[in-house]
């Protein structure tokens, strides 16, 4: 099976100096969900920006099969902006159009189909800022789907969602992977990461990559999170729970 994303010793940085992320060698296959774990500023955003073509690799190789589309955190968008859910999805049709052209009937049909795909057909005309956090996240996924992207890059999509919304989003990601898309998910949630296909741990460089059970060892987690990790006493001493400190998430983690 061919990979949607494949990198070899990829290094990416911002201008001269040490790269923000170095030595990344991983691949994402169609139908796979890969968790990207790492501390804030550890290079998760940098990796996504390289895959989106915003940053050029300073060394190494990066090969893409099909377009990558980004699903940013919903709180980075303006909730007070006068746009409908449909308007937001239509923004995803911009790259495929000449700059002076307005959305055509076909673009609107595509946008509505993408909203239906994420279960929000009946919310198309609602104001984006008035939707729930989970619905907003799904609107942004629809915006990525309308770009005809084979690979989706999600930045901490579960942050701030209640249990029901999180379960619904988790099911949607499983469906999208089932359709043959590749899904990369930046997350802080280890339990979630264990349920997906593979994990990529980064902390300025690649720490580990592989299947969760074999990869998420105490040593790897300590190297990923720089020692800010504690082992919680579990009922089964053979399978201790790991927790990451500090527990609060910075919502604006620009990797520099």
């Amino acid at each position: 099976m061919s990979a949607l994303v494949a990198t070899a010793a990829l290094s990416v940085g911002y201008g001269a100096g040490r790269p923000a992320l170095a030595d990344v060698t991983f691949d994402l296959r169609a139908g796979e969900r890969i968790a990207v774990l790492g501390p804030n500023g550890g290079g998760k955003t940098t990796l996504f920006r390289a895959l989106l073509g915003e940053l050029r690799p300073s060394s190494g190789a990066l090969a893409l099969d099909g377009r990558c589309a980004s699903v940013p955190q919903t709180e980075r968008s303006r909730l007070d902006f006068p746009v409908s859910a449909l308007d937001v999805v239509l923004m995803g049709t911009l790259p495929a159009r000449a700059w002076w052209r307005r959305p055509r009937r076909a673009d609107r049909a595509d946008a509505r189909a993408a909203l239906a795909r994420v279960g929000l057909a009946d919310r198309a005309e609602r104001t984006y800022g008035e939707l729930s956090g989970g619905q907003r996240q799904r609107v942004l996924i629809a915006r990525a789907l309308v770009q005809d992207a084979r690979t989706l890059l999600l930045d901490e999509p579960f942050t701030g969602l209640d249990a029901a919304s999180a379960a619904r989003l988790e099911a949607l990601l499983a469906e999208l992977a089932g359709e043959g898309r590749g899904v990369l998910i930046a997350t802080h949630d280890l339990e979630q990461a264990r349920r997906w296909d593979r994990v990529l741990c980064v902390n300025g460089r690649q720490v580990a990559f592989g299947e969760p059970a074999a990869t998420l060892t105490h040593e790897v987690l300590a190297a990923t999170y720089g020692g800010a990790i504690v082992t919680l006493p579990g009922e089964d001493p053979a399978a201790p729970h790991h927790a990451i400190l500090p527990p609060h998430h910075h919502h604006h983690d620009h990797a520099h």
Binding site: L52, P72, S77, V88, M91, L94, R102, P103
Partner: protein
């Protein structure tokens, strides 16, 4: 009654003033929505005040105000950009910009108050919409055409960048180019509108109608329509006030724009108050 409504506009002077306020209402209402949504009100005001010495020098030298204004706006933009750069560290960007703009404005006032200054220079500060010339209307019409065309072409890109900058960048949109487009249009609008409304009041027409409309609407197209209507109503109302009550037209228009904003605020808080129990 009908006579009283039609009477003011029997004079050519008032007809030209009416055409000018309607043109400015269209520019202020459409471009103003992007000014308000983009948080550019302070920038627009800085440009308007910073260009003052250019206007005064043009009046003193007897060259067309449009020319002096254009030079003044370029100098102001440069000063604001430099102040914005310099204002890192202990002095905030806004503070540095405020110092630069006040300096320019003070320089303009110094020149305007000199004994050599021609009479009527206060028109630069407060405008004189009643002295709108045919050339002013031509400039106003051209401004409307440029602004409407640019906003229509860039609509979706401006929307995407305004909505979320990072997401727009991931879509391959160039936010700095769109920012520059918006600021360029604002500079152009200030330059043309300053003739009619004056240096101090020009910002009112760019900000107040859109701010009022934002409170009453939740989509961009209706917001622009309401903003244009508010601007037009305040413009026409201001002309009546100046005709019948004999107060300055520019000040009347600005006063009515502020009144419209306050009315919109009251309306929207009443609506919110009555809608709240239903949720």
């Amino acid at each position: 009654m009908l006579h009283a409504l039609a009477d003011p506009f029997s004079q050519a002077l008032m007809q030209r003033a009416l055409a000018e306020v309607l043109l400015l209402a269209v520019v202020g209402g459409t471009l103003g929505c992007w000014v308000v949504l983009g948080g550019l009100s302070y920038g627009a005001e800085s440009l308007a005040h910073g260009m003052f010495p250019g206007l005064v020098l043009a009046a003193l030298a007897g060259v067309p105000l449009l020319l002096g204004g254009a030079a003044g706006i370029l100098v102001a933009a440069l000063a604001i950009a430099l102040a914005g750069q310099a204002g890192v560290g202990r002095v905030g960007r806004d503070d540095a910009v405020a110092v630069a703009v006040t300096t320019l404005f003070g320089l303009g006032a110094l020149l305007a108050l000199s004994p050599r200054a021609p009479v009527g220079i206060q028109g630069l500060l407060f405008g004189d919409v009643l002295s709108t010339s045919g050339a002013d209307l031509l400039a106003g019409g051209a401004l409307v055409a440029v602004v409407l065309l640019a906003l229509r072409l860039a609509h979706w890109r401006l929307l995407a960048v305004g909505f979320d900058r990072d997401g727009a960048r991931a879509l391959g949109l160039r936010s700095p180019a769109l920012d520059a487009l918006l600021l360029g249009l604002v500079a152009l609008a200030v330059l043309v509108a300053v003739q009619g409304l004056g240096n101090l009041l020009v910002v009112a027409v760019l900000v107040a109608p859109a701010a009022a409309a934002r409170l009453l609407t939740d989509r961009l197209a209706p917001m622009m329509a309401v903003a244009v209507a508010v601007g037009a109503a305040a413009g026409i109302g201001g002309l009546y006030l100046s005709y019948y009550v004999r107060i300055a037209a520019g000040a009347s228009i600005a006063g009515l724009l502020v009144a419209a904003y306050l009315l919109a605020r009251a309306t929207s808080s009443i609506r919110k108050g009555s809608a709240a129990p239903a949720h």
